[in-house]
């Protein structure tokens, strides 16, 4: 294929992306076409090694969060013996012992649960906020859009970590439920509250792109309500980009949770969390570097799993970016 043909093809795909494929109206009308997008994507995904690495890592991580016993090699994270304090990794205890003399492998394995709960809960709230606000702003436009977009701008101007840091610091002294709990719920809500804007912008732009299509006009002519048009005819177009965004964001939020906990405003003792392990390990980074390295390694692999899957999904779902 010559370069020109290649460019033409890309051009066609861009055109197609706004009218067919990504933008198929609703499931019941054009089922075959909807299927072709997703089955094309699956065919593409199957051949991508990055996707498989990410998927396997993800599966391991989820399994670790649900049944950490499988990974702890029979050790109890809370059964500690000070005599073992900071003992280095050995054949029996792969990750060594922490400062309190607890088996570190068990502690790191049990830490996955809080990370997963916070990552998933935060991303769900981000999606709800992002989809609702983004859909309303994009669909109604005008003053509604102006006000909602400015509000998103305001939150966007505050760095995620900074906003969540302030909220979590003052949170326990307030009487707002969940926020004052010092638990996973508070961390997840704080992250979502300062992290919903990108999802909102994504959904808003998707809605604007298709709201003037013929099929939306047809639905309106048939007397469909705003709600029905949005939910049945417009929002299904946003599923693909939102799915990609969600996958990557779970990883980003898990990293942010560890950071907040490290900074002392996230999860508190006696919770088991990678952020807490890194924070405690920091004090003995010279004598026992494994205390920082192991939770860091598992945290990084987890974040990487979600980012790799998201990248692979984007390549599969968006033919425009394929070279």
């Amino acid at each position: 294929m010559t370069d020109q043909q290649h460019l033409d093809l890309r051009h066609d795909e861009v055109e197609a992306g706004t009218t067919t494929g990504l933008a198929s109206p609703s499931v019941d009308v054009t089922e075959s076409r909807q299927n072709s997008l997703w089955s094309d994507a699956w065919g593409e995904l199957k051949r991508n090694p990055l996707f498989w690495i990410g998927a396997v890592l993800c599966l391991l991580f989820v399994l670790m969060a649900i049944v950490p016993q499988l990974f702890a090699r029979g050790a109890d994270p809370r059964a500690c013996d000070l005599a073992n304090s900071k003992a280095l990794p050995s054949a029996d205890h792969w990750f060594g012992y922490d400062v309190q003399g607890c088996d570190y492998l068990a502690n790191v394995a049990y830490g996955a649960r809080n990370s997963l709960i916070i990552g998933v809960f935060a991303v769900v709230v981000v999606l709800v906020l992002g989809v609702v606000v983004g859909a309303i702003a994009g669909y109604f436009g005008g003053v509604t859009d102006g006000v909602l977009s400015r509000i998103a701008d305001i939150f966007y101007a505050l760095p995620l970590i900074l906003g969540a840091l302030v909220l979590l610091r003052v949170g326990p002294a307030t009487d707002i439920p969940i926020i004052n709990s010092r638990g996973p719920g508070a961390v997840a809500l704080a992250l979502a509250l300062f992290g919903w804007m990108t999802a909102m912008r994504l959904v808003r732009s998707q809605v604007i792109a298709v709201k003037s299509s013929d099929y939306v006009a047809a639905a309106r002519a048939m007397g469909a309500s705003h709600r029905r048009i949005l939910v049945r005819h417009i929002l299904p177009n946003a599923v693909a980009p939102v799915l990609v965004y969600t996958t990557i964001t779970i990883g980003v939020l898990i990293a942010a949770e560890a950071t907040l906990t490290f900074l002392g405003v996230g999860l508190q003792r006696p919770a088991i969390s990678w952020g807490l392990q890194i924070a405690t390990g920091q004090d003995s980074i010279r004598s026992a570097p494994h205390l920082v390295l192991f939770p860091s390694l598992v945290l990084t692999l987890t974040v990487m799993a979600f980012i790799m899957m998201g990248d692979a999904l984007r390549d599969a779902l968006d033919p425009r970016q394929r070279a």
Binding site: L165, R169, A173, F262, I285, P289, T300
Partner: protein, 307 residues
């Protein structure tokens, strides 16, 4: 263009006010008595408390307090911390550290990111391209917190190349934290440059340049690179806000006395005036550079016209 800039400047006002009010609300709406905190263990008479509450507008509703804060802000008065030091002095003391750190990070980001991206983009799907793709995926996935510790452990403790904390060795002590802070954006710059270069290499004007018989070097440097740089330059400008957020973690781990660590310490100590002052400054910097980038976009790319 002038009208566009004016309109954008007007639009930044509600965002700036909104963001600072958001932080102000979170910091001051909390229960707890700042006067008691101010007095510490010493007993204070109710009359003194009343006078102080009146002076700091603590009896007024939140929006009145915010209005008083704004009025003082326009006089250049950001208030004082609990020890009576003006917040402005704290910012003057800590801001240069963060500016230096951010500059070092931007240099790393631009130089390494651009070079890696250009070479990857020229030989797409070659060995170097795949190396860049894999390593950027890796770097993006490593939380900045983890990266900071690994860098400290490896380059500071094991190899002893760089100091792991403080600013005693001048600009040299900024190199390691600067690299850590830049890492995520660096990977992004490399990818952006790669895509942009690869795309422009297929453009018609590049084929024309080749057809004219220009040497490969000229085609790449003069024709491809210039156009490929537009999105990269704008990304780097818009990224300054992200760097400020990352500075909170980097400066804390590397013990650099910049605004990032200062704001973190102040949040922990509930030094409301310092938190609000620094966050407002950060938001201002973020909005300012975003505006600069949008204007720059039109200057660099004549196809973009805002009016």
């Amino acid at each position: 263009m002038g009208r566009y800039v004016a309109r954008r400047l007007l639009l930044t006002i509600p965002v700036l006010l909104g963001a600072s009010f958001l932080i102000f609300g979170m910091v001051y709406a909390l229960p707890g008595d700042p006067i008691r905190a101010l007095a510490g263990d010493r007993p204070v008479s109710p009359a003194v408390v009343e006078v102080l509450r009146e002076r700091f507008h603590l009896n007024d509703p939140l929006w009145v307090q915010y209005w008083e804060y704004l009025k003082a802000l326009f006089r250049g008065d950001l208030g004082t911390d609990f020890r009576g030091r003006p917040v402005l002095d704290t910012i003057e003391r800590t801001l240069p550290v963060t500016v230096k750190l951010a500059l070092v990070a931007i240099v790393f980001e631009a130089v390494i990111g651009l070079v890696a991206g250009v070479f990857a983009g020229i030989r797409r799907n070659g060995f170097f391209d795949n190396l860049v793709l894999v390593s950027t995926t890796l770097i993006v996935s490593i939380p900045i917190l983890v990266l900071a510790f690994v860098a400290q452990l490896l380059f500071g403790l094991k190899l002893g190349w760089f100091p792991i904390a403080g600013t005693r060795e001048g600009l040299y002590s900024y190199l390691l934290p600067g690299l850590v802070l830049a890492a995520g954006s660096l990977a992004y710059v490399a990818r952006l440059t790669r895509t942009s270069v690869a795309e422009n290499l297929r453009a018609d004007y590049v084929r024309t340049a080749r057809a004219k018989g220009l040497p490969n070097r000229t085609v790449i440097v003069r024709h491809t690179l210039r156009n490929s740089l537009i999105p990269v330059v704008t990304f780097i400008g818009a990224d300054i806000g992200t760097l400020l957020g990352g500075a909170i973690v980097t400066e804390t781990v590397f013990n650099l006395p910049g605004i990032g660590r200062e704001v973190f310490d102040s949040v922990r100590a509930q030094e409301g005036a310092v938190v609000v002052g620094i966050v407002t400054l950060m938001v201002f910097i973020f909005i300012f550079f975003n505006l600069v980038v949008d204007v720059l976009y039109a200057v660099l790319d004549p196809r973009i016209r805002y009016d």
